[in-house]
């Protein structure tokens, strides 16, 4: 009995070891140095051994009864929908506490941490935007960074050519990015999953290449400067420009370079809260429900009369608008934009946020955005492994829980008369094919 189990395990281990040795051998074992190479074969053997050990460990765990139960549970949790019972307590108190904590953060944090917080909130915004497109509407958009770039360059170039300021850009950016979203959405409307992904990928690259090559207009690889923001015409500089008033003079407080970042943080925080509110409202609206229905089965939706053109278009445009907003904040925070900030890696990072957040869950996306931006800052030593870890996480996440870590609870509508008629069904499980 024992040997019957151990022999296949041994075979599997041997196969894994051989394959991983072939995979790791040339690339990490022999490092190119000019036309010659450096021998690092021990590294390859160690890597192969680690992979084999991991594979064997997983198999061993799966053999035990506990492991089998665990596997069944994991396999089970992918399908089905949990519906709210209507008896959940409203989380208003927690939300209010979080809101106050978020607002008061600048008074505790130093400049370095505030910078990270701003970046984290920008990624929250990007994650929320892409979540509408990928998580809710199920349209895999790999060129999301294009809309981010549109927002950032709108402020940079708008101030250069049209005298556009921060507040103006904040209003125009969502509209312009939404327009770009519409331009992209029209050709992709009739495409399905993978064609759509590759077209959006191409679109993102086109935008980046144009920004990079159109030297006269965008400044090309050298980028473009972004002016500092103003509030009610007050400036954040030490000495105001001709005819202007700087904010510390106006308020009669000593100058600090941090005021600008306080201001950006506070506006950004309010915008993020607003977007979260909007997304949460949209989800329970017919439009949001149509997005999710379309994600599950397009043919069924269309035969039920859902206007798929309108539905996809709105998802694309709203997602793009949010991306454009994030771009404005990115530009004003950096004070400078250039095309290297808008590569495919950025799109992949935003996608990783949405995927790890659990494709559709607002809380999950925010948590993932915070973790994925703050963690790399804390673990500076592992900076070069960042992308590798994102890749691994994306694969593991898809194998383990393709519908996200947080199980989404769907809001349901309850006729007011039935609430005291008896207990409602606690969870309704709907099979989703």
């Amino acid at each position: 009995m024992q040997t019957n189990r151990l022999l296949p395990l041994f075979k599997q281990a041997l196969l894994t070891f051989t394959v991983s040795l072939i995979l790791f051998g040339p690339i990490s074992g022999l490092v190119l140095e000019g036309f010659s190479f450096r021998n690092e074969l021990t590294r390859a053997v160690v890597l192969a051994a680690i992979v084999t050990a991991g594979r064997v460990a997983i198999s061993l765990v799966q053999m035990t009864s506990l492991g089998q139960a665990l596997t069944r549970r994991m396999a089970d949790s992918g399908v089905g929908v949990t519906v709210m019972t209507g008896t959940e307590k409203s989380p208003v108190l927690i939300l209010a506490l979080l809101f106050v904590a978020g607002l008061s953060l600048p008074f505790f944090a130093d400049k370095y941490f505030l910078g990270i917080a701003i970046l984290a909130l920008i990624y929250c915004l990007l994650g929320l935007g892409l979540n509408i497109v990928v998580g809710l509407a199920g349209l895999l958009d790999l060129g999301f960074v294009a809309f981010y770039a549109v927002g950032a360059y709108l402020l940079a170039l708008g101030s250069q050519y049209l005298g556009l300021g921060f507040w103006g850009a904040l209003i125009i950016a969502p509209l312009l990015a939404g327009l770009f979203g519409m331009v992209l959405a029209f050709p992709v409307l009739k495409m399905h999953g993978d064609y759509l992904a590759i077209v959006t990928l191409g679109f993102g690259e086109i935008i980046r290449l144009v920004l990079n090559n159109w030297l006269d207009f965008t400044g090309g690889p050298n980028g473009a400067p972004v002016p500092a923001p103003t509030v009610f015409g007050l400036e954040f500089t030490r000495t105001a420009k001709q005819g202007g008033v700087s904010i510390h003079d106006y308020l009669g407080i000593p100058y600090s370079a941090d005021y600008k970042f306080w201001f950006i943080y506070l506006v950004l925080f309010l915008v993020v809260c607003l977007v979260i509110y909007a997304v949460e409202r949209l989800r329970v609206m017919p439009l949001g429900r149509m997005w999710e229905a379309l994600r599950e089965d397009e043919i069924a939706c269309r035969s039920l009369g859902v206007n798929h053109v309108f539905t996809k278009l709105t998802a694309f445009m709203l997602g793009a608008s949010t991306g454009g907003l994030a771009g404005v904040f990115f530009a004003v925070h950096q004070g400078f934009v250039n095309p290297t900030s808008f590569t495919f890696f950025e799109s992949a990072l935003i996608l990783a946020i949405v995927v790890l957040g659990g494709l559709g869950s607002t809380v999950g996306v925010i948590a993932a955005a915070l973790v994925l931006t703050i963690l790399p800052e804390l673990l500076r030593d592992f900076a070069e492994y960042r992308v590798l870890i994102f890749g691994v996480l994306m694969v593991v996440m898809m194998i383990w829980k393709p519908r996200g870590l947080v199980r989404i609870k769907r809001p349901a509508f309850f006729p007011s008369t039935t609430t005291d008629a008896g207990p409602l069904p606690l969870t309704a499980k709907a099979e989703v094919a």
Partner: protein, 305 residues
């Protein structure tokens, strides 16, 4: 004189195009069988470029100097190792996800693509790498001032691609495994009922795709001499454009699409703008998918419930 410039662009375009065709084969075969784009395919090509350079370095280390022998052994070894990559990708990112949501394999393949890029970057460094010129010299047409040339390496590319395509056509059309591939492509469930091991066929298709991409990778590496960990991205999109241009799922289509894309791109680069040649290729892809998503040789696919 202008004729020579045109001729030169045509030569360059056809060489580039055959490479696109070779890499497009991987997209088209995988798509044919599982109806999914292998997003990590461009990075498989990138990995093959590194393996080619490493193999050549090892061969030089053991004192092998003969260019044809080195080229052939590099080609064979690279194909074999890259094929294992293809197999592993299918095992890790596609097989566990069969029957999962539609989005899941796409995202896991993007994960693999990021993993491969970052793995190569960490192991081999981010700087550009190079290989020594194995074959130099060219056939020249025209007089001393105005001329067009085909380098010997370009001839090698054309011949090697032809041979690779020949082998592939033979395998697909005349062997048992090829028949099973075609059957699986037509109807995966029916093939399984009739006793085709469809899991093995899907693996095979990934292996074949990776191996042909490796042929392309080796040839490009020796032609241009330099590469880095990021080359797979643009090449991936372009090869995909080639596959769509010819009609995804069709093998001759992939080659035809590759050559067409190579030619138009070379002409665009020669006569309009070099800076925007990638923009041109991507824009071509978008336009194409809009007007004729089933390509030149493909058939429109009707979605049934």
């Amino acid at each position: 004189m202008d004729v020579y410039i045109l001729l030169q662009q045509l030569f360059n375009g056809i060489t580039l195009g055959t490479i696109y065709g070779l890499i497009a084969v991987g997209y088209t075969m995988v798509y044919g069988v599982i109806r999914m784009i292998n997003f990590a395919h461009g990075d498989v090509y990138m990995v093959s470029a590194y393996i080619a350079a490493i193999t050549l370095a090892v061969l030089t280390f053991f004192g092998i100097q003969s260019a044809p022998f080195a080229l052939i052994s590099v080609l064979v070894i690279t194909c074999a190792v890259t094929a294992v990559y293809g197999w592993a990708i299918e095992r890790v990112a596609y097989r566990p996800l069969r029957g999962s949501t539609k989005l899941a394999p796409l995202i896991s393949a993007i994960g693999i693509s990021l993993m491969l890029q970052s793995y190569v970057q960490i192991s081999q460094g981010a700087r550009d790498q190079g290989v020594p010129t194995l074959i130099s010299g060219a056939f020249r047409f025209g007089d001393g001032v105005h001329f067009a040339q085909i380098t010997y390496m370009q001839t090698v590319i054309l011949f090697a691609s032809l041979i690779a395509m020949g082998i592939l056509t033979y395998v697909i059309n005349y062997t048992r495994i090829g028949r099973e591939c075609r059957a699986t492509q037509q109807n995966i469930r029916m093939s399984a009922v009739l006793g085709v091991n469809t899991d093995r066929i899907i693996s095979t298709v990934f292996v074949i795709g990776a191996a042909t991409a490796a042929v392309g990778g080796v040839l490009v590496t020796f032609n241009y001499g330099s590469f880095n960990f990021f080359i797979g991205f643009v090449m991936g999109i372009k090869a995909f454009t080639a596959a769509v241009l010819g009609g995804i799922g069709s093998l001759p289509g992939a080659v035809l699409g590759g050559i067409l894309l190579g030619l138009t791109e070379a002409l665009f680069a020669g006569y309009v703008s070099t800076d925007y040649k990638d923009v041109f290729a991507f824009a071509l892809l978008i336009t194409l998918l809009f007007f004729r998503p089933y390509g030149l040789l493909g058939r429109p696919e009707i979605q049934k419930v």
